[in-house]
């Protein structure tokens, strides 16, 4: 199954901005996060196809996954 992963802000460093990636069908979001070596504690929001998503949610062919780091300064 192919999905598109979009990384925002600091998550791009040493990784990528947007990339099509291949995973076995039914892979949960958390697996992608682990594979990309993104510490879960740094994640602010996960979006799957423009909807708020949880790490346990399973991915499907053609999904768009976006990962945002926590930004909290003022």
């Amino acid at each position: 199954m192919q999905i598109t992963v979009k990384l925002f802000a600091t998550f791009r460093a040493g990784r990528f901005a947007v990339e099509p990636r291949t995973y076995p069908p039914g892979t949960p979001i958390v697996e992608v996060i682990r594979e990309l070596d993104i510490p879960e504690a740094q994640i602010g929001m996960i979006m799957l196809n423009n909807r708020h998503a949880e790490p346990e949610q399973e991915l499907h062919e053609g999904d768009n996954l976006s990962l945002f780091p926590l930004v909290g300064g003022g």
């Binding site: 791009r12 926590l70 300064g73």
Partner: protein, 281 residues
């Protein structure tokens, strides 16, 4: 009142009233600049300082801004710029809330900080700055930390609240307080080259969604700090949101987040469905 109106009308140039005339009216009648500004706008006259607002903001809208109260929570990087812009815009009452005093590490970005204001309360500097740039605007300085237990009191009467905080858990609490008060909250946050803005209206769950994975600690700002331009930009976008909400104009950042990346110079609009609908999938 009629004498004041006559005084103002006599000194108007078409529909513009100069600062000299406003100043003279305040002196002559022994009234505040706020009082003069209100009378001026109610007569359909525009204080000349706002003449470049025109077309964007009419005299009637300028009166609406003057009659509005906006609370700014945090008077640091974001809050300083927001206060500056709200005062220049002509928002009549700004409630500035911050417990802190200026420290040297604020000088790289916080517009209200100068070597002379080091050690002084941020809200006191805000009051002095607003009195200097627009004496018709009332700045209410509240030198305490926002907390859920004081939120209803300090936010009472505000039509819009500006999130200029530097703490994620405090933001989450503020979002709840605003929801309880039925007040829109304009959220902004920064870290290094990055920033985000979103507006939460009553009934929305935006802030909780933006930080849904948060467990503890700070965000990217902890490693990256905050350079001068990021708070200026994000606070400006927040102020534009406030202006639109007060005037009921345009399309606010509702159910969407503006994600700003100044390193790659990308502005991404991220649309999202309301949380309650997303959960029911």
């Amino acid at each position: 009142m009629e004498r004041l109106h006559l005084f103002l009308k006599e000194r108007a140039d078409n529909d513009l009233l100069s600062w000299t005339a406003q100043f003279a009216a305040a002196e002559h009648f022994g009234i505040s600049f706020a009082h003069v500004e209100e009378a001026t706008l109610e007569l359909g006259l525009l204080p000349a300082r706002y003449q470049r607002n025109r077309q964007a903001i009419s005299v009637v809208q300028q009166l609406r801004l003057f009659s509005s109260t906006v609370a700014v929570i945090g008077c640091g990087g974001l809050g300083g710029y927001a206060i500056e812009e709200l005062a220049r815009l002509g928002v009549g009452t700004i409630v500035a809330i911050d417990p802190d005093v200026f420290e040297e590490h604020n000088l790289n970005r916080q517009i209200l900080s100068t070597p002379a204001t080091l050690g002084r309360p941020k809200v006191q500097a805000a009051a002095a700055r607003v009195a200097e740039i627009n004496p018709a605007v009332t700045l209410v300085p509240i030198q305490i930390a926002y907390a859920p237990k004081n939120g209803n009191d300090i936010l009472h009467g505000a039509q819009v609240v500006v999130d200029a905080l530097d703490s994620i858990p405090t933001r989450l609490a503020l979002a709840e307080t605003c929801a309880g008060l039925d007040v829109p909250l304009v959220h902004g946050a920064i870290g290094g080259w990055y920033g985000q803005v979103a507006t939460q209206f009553p009934g929305d769950d935006t802030i909780r969604m933006l930080y849904s994975r948060w467990v503890e600690g700070k965000g990217v700002e902890q490693q990256l700090g905050n350079p001068a331009f990021t708070p200026a930009l994000v606070a400006s976008i927040e102020t534009a949101e406030v202006c639109k909400i007060l005037l009921g104009e345009g399309e606010p950042l509702r159910h969407r987040k503006l994600s700003i990346n100044l390193l790659d110079m990308e502005f991404a609009e991220v649309r999202f469905e309301p949380l309650q609908e997303a959960v029911g999938m």
